[in-house]
């Protein structure tokens, strides 16, 4: 019983329940919803986002933030595609693409933690920088004719399930285990929860932060290549606006901008919830223009419910002793 009680208090459980609820309602509302093809299409649609959400969760738990992932997707996809059309071996082109993503992440992380520029500002600049570079290297033209072999990465199926879904699922499982259970990634909870305390506990805060941005960059690189392969071409606008969907999913999944909370499973469920709602609206024949609106509403409702729960809890546990802290001035 204790376990069940605890589980129901988790944000992940709440989202899972909502996802389940929407699925049950939809299975009655539309005969197409519970078909394999619809569900697979749904998962395929969110797989690229989820790949990035895994890294973004770790980053946001550590108090970081990255607006540039959408542009990294565009840039790495275009770079890889151009390398291929210029005759590079596919394996090399793919590796270079992923490494470029990692270097961009390293660049963001370095500026943020060593130079000390705000994460939002830094990655906002990167968003424009790398979208711009994508336009420069492609001259605004989509890159096509990438060949059959390259398309395997994004189009092959195993057990009837497309590769991008496999990548996403594996990354979610591995990412969740690492963030939940490995001491190394667990450091993010300390950094995001109380950076000063983390430093006093001997955590190399800057190192972990830089690594977080690098991982986000690497995963965005992977996402860019998967997407390019799946679509068979690198579009200059690929990934535009994706950063917002990824960050939204992570926040719905329980993370906050202050850091210290969130989980990979939560982020996956957040992404799934958005996709299911979008899918449901389509199947129910609601005007597509409502989709973005509904995503915004979902995010707002999730955080308001969370906030309300926290306020209630604070009232129960705090007896007003905390005001003292605000007014104390350390001597010396």
């Amino acid at each position: 019983m204790g376990f069940l009680k605890k589980a129901t208090k988790q944000r992940e459980f709440m989202i899972f329940a909502i996802v389940l609820g929407v699925m049950i309602i939809m299975s009655f509302a539309s005969p197409y919803f519970f078909t394999t093809s619809n569900l697979l299409a749904l998962l395929l649609g969110l797989s690229v986002e989820v790949i990035m959400a895994v890294g973004m969760t770790s980053l946001m738990v550590g108090g970081g933030f990255d607006m540039s992932v959408g542009s990294i997707v565009g840039f790495t996809g275009a770079s890889t595609a151009l390398l291929i059309t210029h005759g590079f071996p596919i394996v090399l082109a793919v590796l270079v693409g992923i490494i470029i993503g990692g270097i961009i992440g390293l660049f963001n992380g370095f500026i943020i933690s060593k130079v000390g520029i705000n994460p939002f500002v830094t990655t906002l600049a990167s968003l424009s920088l790398f979208r711009g570079l994508t336009l420069i290297i492609t001259q605004g033209q989509n890159v096509t004719n990438l060949g059959k072999i390259f398309s395997v990465i994004g189009q092959k199926t195993i057990l009837g399930i497309q590769m991008p879904i496999w990548y996403a699922l594996i990354l979610v499982i591995v990412g969740d285990i690492l963030l939940r259970k490995s001491r190394f990634f667990r450091q993010n909870y300390y950094i995001g929860g109380n950076e000063k305390a983390a430093k006093l506990s001997g955590i190399s805060v800057n190192k972990v932060k830089i690594l977080n941005y690098t991982i986000v960059g690497l995963l965005a690189g992977v996402a860019g290549i998967v997407m390019t392969s799946r679509l068979g071409s690198a579009s200059v606008t690929a990934g535009t606006g994706m950063e917002l969907r990824v960050i939204t999913a992570v926040i719905i999944g329980g993370a906050s901008l202050q850091g210290g909370e969130g989980s990979v499973i939560g982020a996956f469920l957040g992404s799934l919830l958005m996709a299911i709602i979008t899918n449901a609206l389509t199947l129910l024949g609601v005007d597509v223009y409502w989709q973005t609106f509904v995503i915004g509403a979902t995010l707002l409702i999730a955080v308001v419910i969370d906030r309300a729960g926290k306020i209630r809890k604070e009232r129960n546990t705090n007896k007003g002793g905390e005001n003292v802290c605000n007014t104390q001035v350390t001597n010396g």
Partner: protein, 505 residues
């Protein structure tokens, strides 16, 4: 071979332009509670942070068990046997008790994964070792009371198996029963041979828990003594021990203090202060003294409407007033100079002229638009009147010295023509010359019939400038002293609660 577990010799630590510690000695025997006392700014915190590995001393040596050591970081100090429990707790609220105690040292199994079972077993073992049955290893730290959070912090420090545990103002947010609980825990650990460095303002606690005491003053070592050989007066004299210099200006003995201008009757705000009553007369400067956190600032802020008052009433000029917010307080003639001019007082990136009108923009408007000529006139007049040293009235306030910034802030508030002006730490971080100017300005303002409440931790300033001193302790008024009878010992005695029965916070 040294008989001391920790010995600090001739520690010097400077910050740009300031000697925070000059040649400080500290010797701690194993199994003793060694109190470290001194006024605000005496260097206690600096010494603690140096011993804890956060600061690096400029010179001097630290010995543990007679062997010289140096620390690269707080973590390194932990490993070498010195742990610190900071006044601001350094816990991670969203993680549970076990993960906080073994922060970044969780036991591992294969692949760097955390061995949760062992983590919780180790935590339970620690809890039972210290006979703590009221804390569960699975509880999130944010769900614990402040006192229990402190227990977790102490357990975290103890998990390094330190030889010396430094406690910085450990009772500052505890109630009396919680203080007793803490003392009980200290005695238990002491009997196991742990040495404590106990930093506190509360002298009565020192006589209750400490074996020996070292006194610091102005960053210098003053003396060391066995607690059983000394009394409170001795300690207070050693802590204060300095003369009042004549920067406070001459008191005009003919100055007339008028009738009662302002009265607070039995005002309370939950958790901040309780049953506070006092009055201020026209032309009077009333000093508010007490320890940091005693509730002085909160009383000031409440009168100014920045914090709500829950019960009691305020009377100004014989009429009952209500201040719902700062604007209504200003309208009724109350001004408040905040203790933190940089974050709560001034607009640092604006010019002097803009700052001076920031709280009464409407006075400088013709219709909807600001009249720049009026703003300049006001600025020029203020710069002259308050002796602000600046190349121009457009100078960005952030570029001024602390003293000149404070004068701009004072000018901003004198500008509203207050009947009652509350000044909170008016000379914090201000050099001596500007201090003297500020005291003169305050006196001149009082001479025009304005009532002034001066909240200050600077005792000589309180004694030198005010007409009457109200001492606060734990959110209540501990006593009131006329300036003729007041001296530093009496104020400290009231503020630290020596000789009075301590009430629960």
């Amino acid at each position: 071979m040294s008989s001391y577990v920790l010995e600090a010799r001739q520690i010097v630590k400077t910050f740009p332009g300031v000697y925070a510690l000059s040649c400080v000695d500290l010797k701690v025997k194993s199994g003793e509670v060694h109190a470290l006392v001194g006024e605000n700014g005496a260097g206690k915190s600096t010494l603690m942070l140096t011993l804890g590995g956060v600061y690096k001393a400029d010179s001097g040596t630290i010995l543990i068990d007679g062997e010289e050591v140096s620390f690269d970081s707080a973590n390194d100090a932990n490993k070498k046997g010195i742990s610190v429990v900071y006044q601001e707790l350094s816990l991670v609220p969203n993680l549970n008790v076990a993960e906080n105690i073994f922060a970044n040292r969780q036991p591992l199994k294969a692949f760097g994964l955390i061995d949760w079972k062992k983590l919780y077993d180790d935590t339970k073992e620690m809890l039972s070792l210290f006979e703590i049955d009221y804390i569960d290893p699975f509880t999130l730290v944010k769900d614990l009371s402040i006192a229990n959070q402190q227990v977790v912090e102490i357990l975290k420090a103890m998990s390094f198996e330190p030889k010396v545990l430094i406690l910085d103002e450990p009772t500052s947010s505890l109630t009396e029963p919680e203080v007793q609980q803490l003392f009980c825990n200290i005695k238990k650990l002491k009997s196991k041979g742990i040495a404590f460095i106990y930093i506190s303002h509360h002298l009565n606690e020192i006589f209750e828990i400490a074996d020996r005491v070292t006194v610091l003053r102005d960053g210098k070592y003053v003396c060391e003594a066995d607690v059983k050989d000394i009394d409170e007066d001795f300690l207070v004299t050693k802590m204060v021990g300095r003369k009042i210099e004549n920067i406070y200006g001459k008191r005009d003995e003919n100055s007339k203090i008028g009738e009662v201008l302002f009265e607070a009757i039995d005002i309370s705000a939950k958790g901040l202060f309780e049953h506070v009553s006092f009055n201020v007369r026209k032309g009077e400067i009333v000093g508010f003294s007490g320890l940091v956190g005693a509730g002085r600032t909160e009383v000031g802020r409440s009168i100014f409407g920045a914090e709500p008052i829950e019960s009691g009433c305020l009377i100004l000029d014989g009429k009952k007033i209500s201040v719902n917010n700062t604007r209504s307080a200003m309208k009724q003639g109350i001004g408040y100079l905040s203790e933190d001019r940089k974050s709560q007082g001034l607009y640092l990136n604006f010019g002097i002229r803009e700052n001076l009108i920031s709280n009464r923009l409407e006075d400088f408007c013709d219709g909807k638009f600001v009249n720049e000529r009026k703003v300049d006139e006001n600025a020029n007049e203020s710069v002259y009147k308050y002796g602000i040293i600046t190349p121009s009235v457009s100078q960005i306030v952030g570029n001024l010295s602390g003293g000149n910034q404070q004068k701009v802030l004072l000018g901003t508030w004198i500008g509203i023509n207050p009947k009652l002006l509350i000044v909170d730490e008016p000379t914090k971080g201000v050099d001596v010359g500007a201090k003297s100017d500020i005291y003169k300005l305050l006196r001149e303002l009082a001479a025009t019939g304005v009532g002034i409440i001066m909240i200050s931790s600077d005792l000589p300033e309180i004694l030198g400038v005010t007409d009457r001193i109200i001492v606060m302790k734990n959110g209540s008024i501990a006593g009131e002293l006329d300036r003729r009878e007041a001296n530093e010992e009496k104020v400290i005695a009231l503020a630290a609660g020596v000789g009075t029965n301590q009430k629960g916070a």
